[in-house]
């Protein structure tokens, strides 16, 4: 087989990037947010044009001027944001842009047959080609997205954080498909923040930093610490802050009793004391996020109560929860947490501008002052609070969301996937931040798909499975395997 070599030195986002992908390998692309991974992918898939550099496929230099050209050269891309059309069926989505047609009429039967074949190959024969994609869960849409890449008979498939919306069972399935594909000589460019995934299926690793290649064709066995050093430019402890322990007489701040939301979770009771971090561990779809949203009043429970410092909250009312000192950092930061076009300071004061206002008149000076103080305290980069928040990296956007609740002054902080889309370096920083908040007396309830994160960060862990709390234990007395066992038992029952 011929080797496939690609060079992309770009203008701004990319400043001399080399990437070499061999047939049949899983090539992992690592780098912090903003290192240039997404731009590189867009160049590869024809969405962007490189200003300099060459792309070579099978010893021949090629120009990829638009997405169709990329596909013609055998490069298919699965984007991070699900790029499916909700109103079309599974089959129509998979063959979108390359519909099989005779004289303008689509060959429905043939398309359905091929779709079924691809889905069977992906281990999902249960998805009907005629199902409307909008009705599928996120994981199902991911499958459709992958099926579309396969439908092109691609020789290189780029996967941008494919596991972000998948639970562990689905990730296993994804890996199986990846292995099958590589066995057939297909090359995979795999992008993920999760080290354990890279260990599991990666062959070689390329590390990007600031638009340059800083690590070339490293073996997948390269120690994590070494990779982090390459990504960040210095050695970072990927470590969790120490747990000082919560005194037994610390008052219960958040008290949830028998909370039930039909179809999502049932009879959930939990308590979080001042200065305590409680983690909810469980799979995607186990009801974790819904529990947080219901505590926050964004959904209305059918039964059960939420009390903060002994006072019961009005069900289904976000303003009531906010007034009682509850803050939520939502799961989908961009679509649920931020007004992207607005200035950083206005995002930080989104919950408090009405309070600082005098008789309905805004006090922007006070807002800026409060936002700047938090930006400094949280080490927001860049510290300029006037710029639009969309220009910040994921980790810094998350800090801005936390800053909002710090300005507000929270007794209870609910964190839903606080490190999703946040690079490894910034994670430790966020962990430290959460612990500092707890040390200052905040009750923190955190949800994460990454079990080590829950175990490392929390004082106590509740394991959620199929909408029920199946176990709770101090974080030191439980390990990842036990959590997984509990999760599996719970969903089997």
């Amino acid at each position: 087989m011929e080797g496939i070599v690609k060079h992309f030195p770009g203008a701004k986002a990319l400043d001399g990037v080399d990437l070499e992908v061999l047939p049949g390998e899983v090539h992992c692309l690592l780098g912090q947010n903003g290192a240039g991974k997404s731009t590189l992918i867009k160049v590869l898939s024809g969405a962007h044009q490189p200003t300099a550099g060459r792309i070579v496929v099978d010893d021949a230099e090629v120009t990829i001027g638009h997405p169709v050209a990329a596909l013609a050269h055998g490069v298919a891309t699965m984007y991070q944001e699900l790029d499916v059309v909700d109103g079309l069926t599974v089959a129509e989505n998979i063959y979108l842009g390359h519909e099989l047609a005779t004289g303008g009429f689509t060959q429905r039967r043939e398309v359905a047959r091929r779709t079924r074949e691809i889905l069977r190959r992906l281990g999902h024969p249960e998805i009907s080609p005629h199902r409307e994609v909008g009705q599928l869960p996120a994981a199902g849409k991911q499958i459709v997205s992958m099926a579309r890449a396969l439908s092109h008979d691609a020789r290189v498939i780029v996967m941008d954080e494919p596991s972000a919306v998948l639970d562990s069972g689905e990730v296993e399935n994804l890996f199986r498909v990846v292995r099958e594909l590589t066995a057939q000589g297909v090359a995979i460019v795999y992008i993920s923040h999760r080290m354990e995934e890279i260990r599991a299926i990666g062959d070689r690793i390329t590390v990007l930093k600031d638009g340059r290649t800083v690590g070339r064709n490293l073996p997948a066995s390269t120690p994590t610490r070494e990779l982090i050093t390459l990504m960040t430019g210095r050695s970072v402890e990927y470590a969790f802050p120490a747990r000082p322990g919560v005194p037994d007489d610390a008052p219960v701040v958040l008290d949830v009793q028998g909370l039930t939301l039909p179809g999502a979770f049932e009879d959930v009771s939990l308590q979080v004391r001042a200065g305590e971090v409680v983690g909810l561990a469980g799979l995607v779809g186990s009801g974790r996020s819904e529990i947080l949203e219901t505590i926050f009043g964004a959904r209305k429970q059918s039964a059960g109560t939420v009390s903060v410092s002994g006072r019961r909250l009005r069900a289904g009312s976000v303003p009531a929860a906010v007034a009682a000192g509850v803050g939520l950092a939502p799961e989908e930061r961009k679509s649920q947490g931020l007004v992207l076009d607005e200035a950083v300071y206005r995002n930080i004061t989104l919950s408090t501008f009405a309070r600082t206002a005098k008789g309905g008149w805004l006090d922007e000076r006070a807002e800026r002052r409060a936002a700047r103080a938090q930006a400094e305290a949280l080490d927001l980069r860049p510290p300029d609070v006037e710029r639009a928040i969309r220009t910040l990296s994921g980790g810094n956007q998350q800090k801005a969301v936390l800053a909002r609740w710090l300005v507000h002054g929270c007794d209870v902080l609910l964190l839903d996937e606080p490190t999703r889309g946040v690079d490894v370096g910034a994670r430790s920083e966020l962990y430290g931040l959460v612990r500092t908040l707890a040390d200052n007396g905040t009750a923190v309830l955190v949800v994460s798909s990454e079990i080590p994160e829950v175990l490392g960060l929390a004082d106590r862990v509740h394991v959620v499975s199929d909408g029920r709390v199946v176990h709770q234990a101090p974080a030191q007395e439980i390990d990842e395997h036990r959590v997984l066992d509990l999760v599996m038992e719970g969903s089997a029952a």
Partner: protein
């Protein structure tokens, strides 16, 4: 923390925004456009265009559309649309004249008429707001329904008759011209200034932008999105009510056909003024310019005895050109 030390190069390049793409820059573009139209006016109309009386004529003609457009700006920034403003304007007018001419006959104070129009306008707006915010009907449909029913109601009330306004005080008030400027223009200016403060200096304005920029984020930050949406449509109704009173002042007659198709002029002015139809961004100053651009253009056509059909074509071209320019600036200012 090293994670965030280096500003990502991808962002660094895009964040160096062209100043033209900022709010100030967009307004500069509007000033240039209006200036060009004025130049065209002077060239074709000469003395007849560049005359102080003509300027007053333009502003007087722009006043009603302008006031309604200020209300519409809030609706569109919040991510909605209000198609009913023209019909509601007509309804407020005939309701007010009906009160004046029939119910209490000559005794009625003219401020009662004004008050009636404003209450009817706010009422219609709140009905829109309730249906949109609490009934979860999209604003396009809800206000389309109001467009039809408010017009129908106006015809029922007025029996399709034109009702002349003969209340003393009222016509006197609209004949006033402090500092040589007619009352209609004063009202437009006052509403525009009030709208500017409301949008830029109050919690109401901040909530409007937040709801339009990201309603879910606003809700999860504790903002009462539904209630605020209700208020916004109430405000738009109020603006239509003020417009209805101004129309009575200008024409001294209430008819159910007042304000037919006004919503299109209003929306066009707001959009040309740089307010994004998708919500989250917009300015009052832009809207004022949008209104002035269209009315100045109409004036030039009238001065030159050109047909209204040609005006329609010119308006269409301006709308498309303005939106194309905006998109260009918006793309330049946004990261990919």
């Amino acid at each position: 923390m090293s994670a965030s030390t280096a500003a990502p190069p991808a962002d660094a390049s895009t964040e160096r925004r062209s100043w033209l793409s900022g709010p100030a820059g967009r307004n500069v573009g509007l000033v240039v456009a209006l200036a060009l139209i004025c130049v065209a006016g002077v060239v074709t109309g000469g003395e007849r265009f560049a005359d102080i009386d003509n300027v007053v004529t333009i502003l007087r003609a722009a006043a009603v559309t302008g006031v309604v457009a200020i209300g519409m700006t809030f609706v569109i920034i919040s991510g909605g649309i209000d198609l009913s403003v023209g019909s509601v304007l007509g309804l407020t007018g005939v309701w007010a004249t009906t009160v004046a001419t029939q119910t209490m006959a000559e005794d009625v104070h003219w401020l009662v008429m004004v008050f009636t129009a404003l209450v009817v306008g706010v009422g219609a707006g709140l009905v829109n707001g309730v249906i949109i915010a609490y009934g979860r009907v999209v604003s396009f449909i809800a206000t389309l329904a109001m467009l039809a029913s408010a017009r129908g109601l106006a015809e029922m009330i007025s029996n399709r008759q034109t009702q002349r306004v003969e209340v003393a005080g009222f016509t006197d008030f609209f004949d006033l011209d402090p500092l040589g400027v007619p009352m209609l223009i004063w009202i437009f200016a006052l509403v525009a200034v009030a709208g500017w403060f409301l949008l830029n200096r109050t919690t109401f304005g901040r909530r409007t932008v937040a709801v339009g920029g990201n309603a879910e984020a606003a809700r999860l930050a504790g903002i009462k999105v539904k209630r605020h949406t209700l208020y916004i449509y109430g405000l738009s109704g109020l603006a239509a009510g003020i417009g209805g009173v101004m129309m009575l002042g200008r024409t001294t007659a209430g008819t159910s056909t007042n304000g037919v198709l006004l919503e299109l002029d209003v929306i066009a002015a707001v959009v040309v003024g740089g307010t994004l139809l998708a919500g989250g961004r917009g300015t009052i100053v832009g809207t004022v310019f949008g209104v002035l651009i269209f009315n100045t253009l109409t004036n030039i056509f009238v001065i030159n005895n050109m047909s209204t059909s040609a005006q329609g074509v010119a308006k269409g071209v301006i709308i498309v050109a303005a939106v194309l320019l905006q998109q260009r600036f918006a793309n330049r200012s946004r990261p990919t």
